[in-house]
Amino acid sequence: MLVLIEGFGLGLSTGIYCLGACAPILIPFVMVESRPNWRSNLWLTGQFLLGRLIAYVLFAAGASLLGQLASSRLPTWLVPAGLLLSGILMLAYAAAPREAWPGLCPAVCRRFPAARMPLLLGFLVGINVCPPFLAAMTRVIDLHHTGLSILYFLAFFVGTTLYVLPVILVTPIARIARLKSIGWLACVIAGTWFCASGISGLVH
């Protein structure tokens, strides 16, 4: 129980930083994909969060194993590689109109439809290590217990999610056609930014 409270407390107190890490990816995407009804936007955000949750659980398990191996070091290429992948995904999303995808790349699109994009983006955001995430990871490395580590990260996820959920407030303005165009351009710019950050991190 203490682990749950601790994880939730950490997420709640540092969630603003998590929002900072997620928002440049999530908001342009939501601007393009949002529909003027709450249910579809909730579904969209839910998929994104699910992707993030999967990344968190995998990280929790990995970090716990690291702790059990008495090691507390993550590979240094992981964060920039995550940034680079996020950037490439955003650029690919912006470059390829979804209507044209089935004609251009039927084999790829069957396995990788646009509908799964939020899940994948959420996952990539999840592995973009931000300061609160590092704090949570340091804690679970000390726990030396896989189950408790996953519980800790689940609670941490719930705490931080409270900051991410307000993106669905875009729903009332989703009718504005200009919003999609702004979101699309934002995807291109943010994708380029993430790619540059990722490459810079990998080179250094």
Partner: protein, 311 residues
């Protein structure tokens, strides 16, 4: 002329302040320290794109109970007052970038490049930049616009090409300066930085709506001759919008379209209606003009600045 002169005086001030004092390197370092110490710069253009950092900084100041740190709040308040006082007209009557862009775009009488229409969604580039810059600034806790886009960093900062990152920054800032502030305004007679890059323009498109001063097309008089579309220096009038007798949201209220309209179909209004005490053709009609409006706005701004200084 006043507007363009103000812009050049601002640039000259930025250069001379460093050169005359013979300590511009110190100024440079201080500038960099400020930028990299998570502080939101005291510049109206950076305010929009760093608004989330600014709010976060104030949140920390409130929590710390350090009243000294509340200073930016006053200045930020002042910058937020500008959209309410000037509306979108600030970009054409007060902003130094607007003045530079305007100055270069007026050097040649006729454009060397005839560029009247923007392709597709490019018109929304400033808004997209505003969104991304605001979010990445929050992510990095740095004013990303100032570090990566603002060519004014070439005047009193960033002149130390140390490291690849700084060289890349310099290359981007130089490119923005040469292409968007000098070359394209010169050749196309368009204010490219204001129309295509400036995130504060997009900020004004949103917040400036509160201000009643508008540019309006009279459907009964408009003959669709498209002179306004060609004259608009910020691409604020598109073919589609003109067909519906509308001005785009990124209008800077410079008045170029009013000057070129042969049918006098375009005029300044309050929320799209004629000023009740200054009807067209009336004795006071000539006062329904941007110059009168600008005078009042500057007086109010002066009052706000003066009261803050006294405070």
């Amino acid at each position: 002329m006043l507007f363009i002169s103000m812009a050049w005086l601002f640039v000259a001030n930025k250069w001379l302040r460093g050169l005359v004092g013979l300590s511009w390197l110190n100024g440079l370092n201080e500038n960099l320290r400020n930028l990299q110490a998570q502080e939101v710069p005291n510049c109206h253009i950076a305010m929009g794109s760093s608004i989330l950092n600014y709010l976060y900084q104030q949140y920390l100041a409130f929590q710390s109970e350090n009243w000294y740190q509340w200073g930016p709040l006053s200045l930020g308040f002042l910058w937020l007052v500008i959209p309410f006082l000037f509306g979108q007209a600030w970009c054409s009557w007060g902003c130094f970038y607007g003045g530079l862009d305007d100055g270069f775009s007026r050097i040649f009488v006729k454009p060397w490049i005839r560029w009247f229409r923007l392709p597709g969604p490019l018109r929304d580039l400033p808004a997209a930049l505003l969104v991304v810059l605001a979010l990445t600034s929050l992510t990095t806790l740095l004013p990303v616009f100032c570090l990566w886009v603002c060519p004014f960093k070439l005047t009193d900062g960033f002149l130390d090409p140390v490291g690849n990152t700084r060289r890349l920054q310099l290359a981007i800032l130089g490119t923005v300066l040469v292409v968007a502030v000098i070359l394209l305004p010169l050749l196309a007679r368009k204010r490219l930085f204001c129309g295509l890059i400036c995130p504060f323009g997009a900020w004004q498109a949103l917040t400036g709506k509160i201000h009643p001063f508008r540019v309006t097309i009279d459907p009964d008089r408009c003959t669709q001759c498209q002179r306004c579309l060609r004259a608009c220096p910020t691409f604020a009038i598109s073919h589609e919008e003109l067909r519906q007798h509308q001005i785009g949201p990124y209008c800077n209220q410079c008045g170029e379209c009013i000057d070129v309209c042969p049918e006098v179909a375009i005029r300044y209004t309050a929320f799209g209606r004629d000023f009740p005490w200054m009807p067209p053709g009336g004795a006071l009609a000539e006062f329904a003009d941007h110059r009168v409006f600008a005078l009042f706005a500057y007086l109010l701004l002066g009052g706000a600045v003066g009261s803050l200084c006294l405070y």
